[in-house]
């Protein structure tokens, strides 16, 4: 069996590298935390930063399949789970920051906040949807669920849309869409790719 390689790197090495890369945002927070780097409003900083990294990891996870189709680096499929789990990890930190440092575990206040700011409900739904996907991300669950596994994991498209709506709605208060529009464009491109790919393949075969 030939050695498994990803872009020329041994797969195991590539995985370690990606794992360390995925932890960099967390390491940055630790560094900033010890050097008074969170700015005037630490809660806001952590909420926004963890939200950003959730979205980035989610888009990376969604981008792996198109990248694999374009580069024919089939080992990319073996790092997709890690990207997805990092998205869940940062979503968890995002949610924790909100419930802890913004609401101080006051459930009544949280429910009130969700009603008054429905964009939070949208973000929360995206987070909840990520949980079954994370739990069933193992090989064992893949085997057990069979065809239903890929059906279930298509929920990631919904999660992507919910995450963008959550971010969009948050920014709508200031009519400030400069950043969110880029994330939305990337997500739209990645989803469009999935619709177009079969036709691209069919076109190639016809020639």
């Amino acid at each position: 069996m030939p050695a498994q390689r990803l872009f020329g790197l041994p797969l195991r090495g590539a995985k370690v590298l990606l794992f360390v890369l995925g932890l960099l945002p967390l390491l940055r927070w630790v560094w900033l935390g010890f050097t008074d780097g969170f700015g005037a409003n630490p809660t806001q900083f952590l909420t926004r930063s963890s939200g950003t990294w959730t979205l980035v990891c989610l888009l990376i996870a969604l981008g792996i399949t198109p990248l694999r189709q374009l580069t024919k680096q089939n080992m990319l499929a073996r790092v997709r789970r890690m990207a997805g789990l990092f998205a869940f990890f940062y979503a968890f930190l995002h949610f924790t920051t909100y419930i802890w440092f913004d609401q101080f575990f006051d459930l009544q206040a949280t429910v009130k906040d969700i009603i008054e700011r429905p964009f939070i409900l949208v973000g929360f739904s995206a987070f909840v949807l990520l949980i079954p996907l994370s739990v069933t991300s193992t090989q064992g669950w893949m085997r057990r669920l069979g065809k239903r596994w890929s059906l279930l994991h298509r929920a990631v498209y919904v999660i992507g849309v919910l995450a963008i709506v959550h971010y969009w709605w948050h920014k709508a208060g200031k009519n400030d869409f400069q950043e969110v529009i880029w994330y939305a464009a990337v997500l739209a491109a990645l989803l469009a790719w999935r619709l177009l790919w079969p036709y691209i393949q069919a076109g190639k075969r016809a020639r």
Binding site: G39, A40, F104, E116
Partner: protein, 318 residues
């Protein structure tokens, strides 16, 4: 007008003067150090050069809450003319020119005139007042402002009987204010007060903070502070003051009339359409682990200002 002091201050809570002065010296030392080590020009570019202002504290207008660190006051700002993010104003306001500066006062006044900034600095004795500031977004600070009651300026121009409202028009210079490219609100930024609100002794024509002239990001060289209203009522970098008969439409009323009313009094019982106003986060207070505070009606200045709104439905006139 009789000004009642808030009743809940016990003498032991008042910072003894030596400690107060020590703190002041420490701050000045730190500022001088910053100037020396980074180099004058770069410093002026990034933070806006400030100079010392001599202003004795006026304890009749001082609350005893812990001050928000100067660093937070000058790096966490809403000043959309320099960008939408809180860090943008400190970053992007370096080229903003505040000398020379004039403020023209016109409209329903007996003596319309234009004040140079030097005249404004001398119009009345400068004093330091420690005020709470509450942003409509749900955060607050405690800031030692320098200035004097707006009433001093108003008396100097002799408003006519028709002057019911005072409109504040602020700077909008596309060359030095990169945020003007965004169309979030209509420029220039305009705010207004009823004339009795503007005449209230608490309403401060503000020329400095922390014993220095205002940094650009905080509204140099002259701004308004109305401590019982949400921060957005306090126009920054004022260029024109107009006395008018009809209630002006402020910039935020034009942008989002359902979210921002004319009065904008701090009121925990009237939620913003998209969030509660019952609590607030005090900036610079023990970081992440400090729970939010309960917001006080009129931001805690009810004893002094509630009478201005007698008989008014503050839900309707929010």
């Amino acid at each position: 007008m009789l000004i009642r002091r808030p009743a809940d201050i016990v003498p032991s809570e008042i910072t003894p003067e030596p400690i107060y002065l020590d703190r002041r010296r420490l701050l000045q030392g730190a500022a001088a150090l910053g100037l020396g080590s980074i180099g004058g020009m770069a410093w002026a570019q990034s933070a806006g050069a400030t100079t010392k202002l001599v202003a004795p504290p006026n304890n009749a207008f001082a609350i005893m809450d812990k001050l928000t660190p100067r660093k937070d006051v000058t790096t966490y700002n809403n000043f959309y003319e320099f960008g939408l993010d809180k860090g943008d104003p400190a970053e992007n306001s370096g080229k903003f020119v505040t000398r020379p500066w004039t403020v023209s006062v016109e409209g329903e006044v007996g003596k319309p005139r234009t004040f140079g900034i030097e005249e404004l600095l001398k119009l009345a004795p400068l004093e330091e007042r420690v005020y709470r500031m509450r942003c409509v977004e749900g955060w607050s600070m405690v800031i030692p402002w320098v200035g004097y009651s707006m009433a001093n300026l108003i008396k100097a121009v002799e408003p006519t009987g028709n002057a019911k409202y005072v409109e504040f028009i602020t700077a909008a210079d596309p060359k030095t204010m990169p945020g003007l490219r965004s169309r979030v609100i209509e420029w220039p930024y305009i705010e207004a007060l009823r004339i009795d609100e503007a005449m209230h002794p608490l309403t401060l024509l503000t020329l400095g903070l922390y014993g220095e002239t205002l940094p650009n990001q905080n509204g140099a060289p002259v701004r308004l502070i109305v401590p019982w209203k949400y921060g957005f009522k306090s126009g920054k970098s004022i260029v024109k003051i107009r006395f008018v008969e009809k209630q002006p439409t402020s910039a935020w009323m034009k942008t989002a009339p359902s979210e921002y009313g004319f009065y904008a009094n701090v009121n925990p019982d009237v939620p913003h359409p998209r969030w509660s106003q019952a609590t607030e986060r005090r900036i610079g207070e023990d970081g992440l682990f400090a729970p939010k505070r309960k917001t006080l009606k009129f931001n805690g200045y009810g004893d002094q200002v509630a009478s201005l709104y007698q008989g008014m439905d503050l839900v309707k006139f929010y």
